[in-house]
Symmetry: C2
Amino acid sequence: MTIQPRTLKGFRDYLPQAAGSREWLIEKAKGVFRSFGYLPIDTPALEYTEILLGKGGAESDKQLYRFEDHGGRDVGLRFDLTVPLARYAAQHIGKLGTPFKRYHVGPVWRGENTQRGRYREFLQCDFDTIGTESLVADIECALVIHALFEQLGQRVQIHINNRKLLSGLLEKLDLGAQTVPVLRALDKLAKIGPQKVAQELEAQAGASPRQAREVLALAELEGDDQEILAGLRPMLAGSELGEQGLSELEEVLAGALAGGLPPGRLVLDVSIARGLDYYTGTIFETFLDALPGIGSCCSGGRYDDLASLYTSQRLPGIGASLGVDRLLAALEELDALPAGGASAPIFLPLFDADRLADYLALAAELRGQGLGVELYPEARKLGAQLKYADRRGHRLAVVIGGREWEAGTCQLKDLRSGESSEVSLEDLAAECRRRLGRDS
Amino acid sequence: MTIQPRTLKGFRDYLPQAAGSREWLIEKAKGVFRSFGYLPIDTPALEYTEILLGKGGAESDKQLYRFEDHGGRDVGLRFDLTVPLARYAAQHIGKLGTPFKRYHVGPVWRGENTQRGRYREFLQCDFDTIGTESLVADIECALVIHALFEQLGQRVQIHINNRKLLSGLLEKLDLGAQTVPVLRALDKLAKIGPQKVAQELEAQAGASPRQAREVLALAELEGDDQEILAGLRPMLAGSELGEQGLSELEEVLAGALAGGLPPGRLVLDVSIARGLDYYTGTIFETFLDALPGIGSCCSGGRYDDLASLYTSQRLPGIGASLGVDRLLAALEELDALPAGGASAPIFLPLFDADRLADYLALAAELRGQGLGVELYPEARKLGAQLKYADRRGHRLAVVIGGREWEAGTCQLKDLRSGESSEVSLEDLAAECRRRLGRDS
C-alpha cells in the first residue's frame, strides 16, 4: 500500500519555474542589500514561546504553531522576522555594535485561515538599520527600495509619510491617547471613504465631529510634495512633534534626491498610516507603476525602540519588508519574470552514445567558458530530447551527430525562434555567448 | 520586567560573518548546480507525519519534531530533504517529466542529542537526477562535486565505489540476505580495523571466518584504480551483479576523465560503504586535500527507486549532499572563507554633516558603477567610524572632509594595509575597481 503523496493544507511545493523565479528575486534583493552595506543574519525557526507570544497581538498568538519539544520546552515556529530580530539584537548587540545593518530572508509560519488565499508558510525578506536615529538611515531605506525594484526592471512610486504629523495633530487636539483607534480608522480611508472614517473616529476614538474633520483634513491633503507641506504647516503650527515630523520629511525627501532617486519616485502621501502603532517616524509604502492596484510591495518605517521587551538598551531603527509573494504574483502578471527560470541556457542532446566522451568534453569546455550546459543523459531520439529541452526553457541547443563530429561542426538551434545554423565547434563558445548576450 | 533573550538548546543564531560565509557557499553551489542544468525546488518545512515516519529508521522517528496543528492534523518538521523529494516526485513527476534534475537547499530539524556537537536545525544542500539509469548521471554527479569544490578554491579527492561489487560478492558467498549488517560492519573499517570488523561480520551477519575474510579482502583492496580493478575481477568472476558493478565503475571513471576531471581526483576506493542500504550502485565520498581528516564533505550515490512508498512509478536516480556545516568548519580552519564576509567593499565615513547630499551622491555614483558602498549614517569622529569599518571587513575607506570636497579629491585608505593615498574624485571609481580587482 502506498502513502498518498500530499502537502498540508495551506502549504505548497515550489515547482522549478516558481522556485527559480523566487530565487532570482531573492538573489537580486540580497545583491542590493549588500551594495549598501547590510549584512546577512539568520535565526532559528523555533523559539521559546515566551519570546514569541504577545508580540504580534491576539491573532498572531492564535495562529502560532506551538508545541512541546523533546525536552518539555514550550516552543513555537517564528511568525515573522521582526520578533526574532529584536531577540537577536538584545542578545548580541554588545558584540555587533551599532549602527547594525542587517538583512534576513527566511520562512515564517502562521496558522492562518487559508480562505483568504494566504499560505501558512511564506518567505519574508527584511532589511533594517538598528541603533541610530540618523535620518541618513531613513534616506537609505528609500534608496534601497528604489534600487531593489530597479534591479527587477520595475519603476515604482515610493509613498512616504511621517507618524509624527498625525501624533502632533492628535496631541494638539487632545486625542494623543487615541492613536491606535485613530490609526485603525485612517487605515481604511482608501477602502471605506472619509465619511465612514469620520464615523469610526467618533465611535471608536471618541473624537468630536470637529476633531474628526481636522484629522481627516490632514489625511486627505493632496497635491505635490510642496503643496502638501504648505497645507500641513498651519495644521501643525505650535506642535513640536508635528513640526519635527515636517522637517524630517523635508530632509528625507531632499536626501533621496541627492542620493540619486529620480524626481517623482518618492512622494509625500499623508494618507498612508500603516496600521501598527509600532512605527514612530518615517513610514514607506511602495507601488509598482505597472500594477499599482496590487498594493504595496515593500513597506516599512522607523521605530523608537526595537527590543524593549528583551533589553533595557534602547535600539531605535528603521527597516522595510519586501512582499515576496505579492511581488512575484505581480511580476508574473506583468510577464516580467526571467523566461528560462534557473535553466542552464544551453542544451546538448546526446545523439550518439559511442561519442559520450566527446559530448562530456564539449560540455566541460563550454562550462569552463562560463556557459551553463545541460547534457541529456540518454541517447534517445532527438525529437524526444528537444521536447524535454522545450519544457525546461533552455535558449540554445547544440545538436551534433556522427557526421558533425567528423566535420568539427554542430547545428546551433535557437529554441525560441526554432532557427538552426551550422557553427564550427571552434567558434561555438563565442557564438553562444554572442547569442545569449544579445537577447538577455 | 524583560524577557531573557535566548535561543533554544541545540539551535543557533548566525552572526553576520557566519551568515555571510554560508550564503557565499550556497550561492557558489547553486551556480554550479545551474550550470549543469539542475533546477531549484522547495517543499514545506511541515509535512503530514505519515509522510515522514518510518522513512529514516527508529532514531529518526524518535528525533522527529511532531505535533498536532490547529486543524488537529498530525504533523512534523522534515528531518531531511530526501523524504520530501520522494513525496514531491511522486506527486508531480507527471508534470515534471523525466529525467528530472533538481537541487534543494533548506533547513531540516532533528531533536538530536546535542552532546555530539550537532545542531537540531541545520541546512541541507542536495542535488539529484531522477528517472534515469544512465551512467551519464553518475558521471555528472562526480563532475558537479568536483566543480563545487573548485568554486570554493579547494582540491578534493572523490572516492568512488559501487554497491554491486559487495552485493555480487555476498550473492556468491550466499550472504545476500545479510547486506545490512555487513554494510554496518564495513562502515566501521577505518575506525575499528579489520580484525574487529571480521568479528562483527561473524557475530552480526552470521558469516563464517572464511566468508568474513573474503568480504574483508574485497574491502581492503588497495592501489591505483587499475590495480584494484584487477584485484576485483577474480573475486567477482561468475557474479553477474559484481561484473556489472565493475563495468559501471570503469565507465564512470572513464567518463569523468572525458568530462574534464584531472587524473587522480576521482579514485576507486572499495572500502567506502555508506551505511544506508538505500544505495544500489555508484557511491561517492569527497575529501579535501587540505583537510582529509575532517571526513567526507560531499557524499551520495545511486538508488534503484526513490519514491516506492508514495507511487508505483519506478524512479531510479543518483544524487549527493553537500555537508554544509562540516565544509564551513573546514574552510574556516583552512582560512579559506572570504575575508570581508558579505560586507560592501567600500566604506564612506560621513565626515561633514552639512555635505550629506554630496556623500549621498558619491555613494550613488559608486554603486551605479557596480561598487558596493556603506555610508556611515552619523557624523561622528573619524576614528570611531573607521573602528566600525574595521570590525566589518570593508576593504577600502573613502575619506573626504571639507577641504577634499573643495579640491575634488579624497583620501583612499586601504583598510588592510592601512596605507592612504590622495585620489581625485573623477578617478575614484576606476581606482577602487583596480584595487578591489587586484586582490580579489
